[in-house]
C-alpha cells in the first residue's frame, strides 16, 4: 500500500471537479429553469434547445468535443479546464430540470399573493417562489451531487489526473488491479456517504415547520 499517497493525489482533483461543476451547474441551471418557466417564448425556447442538446448526448462525447474537437477551431483548453467546462454545462442541464419541476410545484397563487402586496414579478420569484422551490429540490439535488461525484471519473479519457486516473496508473504499473480499484471504490463510497449525510442535515435544518415533520412539530407546540 505504498502507492496510497499517489492515489490520494487524485482526491483534490476529483473534489474540485465535483464542487466546481455542481456549483456552476447550479447557477446556470437555475437561470435555465427560470428562463423556461418565466421567460418570453424565445428565451424559453432557447433554454429547451440547450437542455435537449446536453441531455440528449453522452457526457463523454461532450468532453471529447470540448477537449479534442475545439482545438480544430482554435480553442484549446487544458484537460482540467475542459473537464470543468464539460461537467458544469452538463450538470446545468440536469439541475435545470429538477429546479423547473420544483418551481412549477409551487402553486401560482403564491406568486399572486406576492403581486397583490405590490411585489414585482422578480421580487415574488426571489422572495416567495425560490425559497420554497429550492427546499423541494434538495433531495433531487443531493442525487445529482452523488451522480456527479461518480461521473467525474469519466475525465480519465481526457487525461485529467483525478482519483480514477491515479488508480489506473498505479494498477497498470503494479498489476494490482483488484486492491487498487477496491481502495478507490472505498474512497468514492466514503465521499458519497459523507455528502449525502451533509445534504440530509441541511435539508432537515431548512425544512419548513409543520410540513412533513408533523409529529415533531405537534410535540413542540403541545
Amino acid at each position: 500500500m505504498q502507492s496510497l499517497p499517489q492515489i490520494l493525489e487524485g482526491v483534490p482533483v476529483t473534489l474540485l471537479l465535483t464542487f466546481f461543476s455542481i456549483s456552476v451547474g447550479f447557477c446556470i441551471g437555475l437561470l435555465l429553469a427560470l428562463g423556461r418557466v418565466y421567460g418570453k417564448k424565445a428565451i424559453s425556447y432557447g433554454c429547451i434547445v440547450y437542455l435537449e442538446i446536453f441531455r440528449g448526448t453522452p457526457l463523454l462525447v461532450q468532453l471529447f468535443i470540448i477537449y479534442y474537437g475545439l482545438p480544430a477551431v482554435g480553442i484549446i483548453f487544458s484537460p482540467i479546464i475542459a473537464a470543468l467546462i464539460g461537467l458544469s454545462l452538463n450538470s446545468a442541464a440536469y439541475q435545470a430540470e429538477y429546479l423547473r419541476g420544483s418551481i412549477q410545484a409551487i402553486p401560482s397563487s403564491q406568486m399572486i399573493a406576492g403581486r397583490t402586496l405590490g411585489m414585482t414579478r422578480l421580487q415574488s420569484i426571489r422572495t416567495v417562489i425560490l425559497p420554497q422551490a429550492l427546499r423541494i429540490s434538495i433531495p433531487a439535488w443531493s442525487n445529482e451531487l452523488i451522480y456527479l461525484l461518480k461521473y467525474t471519473s469519466i475525465v480519465v479519457y481526457i487525461q485529467v489526473r483525478d482519483l480514477t486516473f491515479q488508480a489506473k496508473d498505479i494498477a497498470s504499473h503494479s498489476s494490482r488491479y483488484l486492491e487498487t480499484f477496491l481502495v478507490v471504490a472505498l474512497i468514492y463510497l466514503l465521499f458519497t456517504f459523507v455528502f449525502s449525510e451533509i445534504v440530509d442535515r441541511v435539508e432537515k435544518h431548512v425544512r419548513i415547520p409543520g410540513i412533513g415533520l408533523t409529529q415533531t412539530v405537534a410535540k413542540r407546540n403541545a
Binding site: 397563487s109 399573493a113 403581486r115 427546499r135 419548513i208 412539530v217 407546540n221
Partner: protein, 247 residues
Amino acid sequence: MHMLEVKEIHKSYGSCEVLKGISFTVDKDETKVIIGTSGTGKSTLLKCINQIDPPDKGEVWLDGEELTNLSTDMNRIRQKIGFVFQDFNLFNHLTALQNVSIGLEKVKKIEKEKAKARAFDELKNVGLEKQAGQYPAQLSGGQKQRVGIARALAMDPVIILFDEPTSALDPELIGDVLDVMKSLAGKVAMLIVTHEMGFARNVADEIIFMEGGNIIESGSPEKMFNNANKERTREFLGRISCLYGKE
C-alpha cells in the same frame, strides 16, 4: 370623488363573457358586500380591480388614478389595495410574523426591525401575538385568515378586497374572522365577496347582488332584505338566508 370607481367593466375568457359591464363605486371607509351565485364572476371582478387579471374593456379608478391605464405603475398601486383570499395564500416558508412583515421590508423598504415591530402590532390586533413565530402549516384556518388580514392591513391600504374570506373555514372558526372584519368597518374601505348574510346585513353600507356577469340590484341591507325591487333578488336572498342563517 369616489375612493374606488369601476366603470363598465367587461371581461371574457375565450368566448365566455364573464363580466358584462359592471359599474359601481366605493367611498372612503365604506363597506360594500357583493353577493351572488357561484360562477357569477365575483372573483373575476376583484382580480380586474387590482389588475391581477386586467379587464378587456372599461375603467377602474382608485384615489384619482386610472388603474386600467397601462402606464400606471400597478406595483405601487397594489400596496394600497389589500387582498384577502379564500384559501389564505400565506407564504408557506415564512412565520406568521414574517408573512406580515415581508411586504413592509421588500416592497415598502422599511428597515427590518421597524417592519417586525409593525407586523407584531398587526398580529396583536387580530389576536395572534402568541402565534407570531408559527408557520402557516401550524395554524388553524381561522388563524391563517387572520394572518392574511394582518398582512393586508400592514401595508396601510386605502381599500381591502375580500374574496369569500370565510368560505374555506370550519363553522366554529368563522366568527373570529368576521369579528376582525367588523372591527375594521368604518376605518378602511372594504369590498367583500361573501355568503355570510348576517355579516352583510349588520356591517355592509351597501349590498351588491350580481348574477350572470351583471349587477342585478344594489342597495342598503334594509332595502335588499326587506324591499328588494327585483323578484330575482328576493328569491336569491330568501334561499341563501335559509342556507347560511339570518344572523
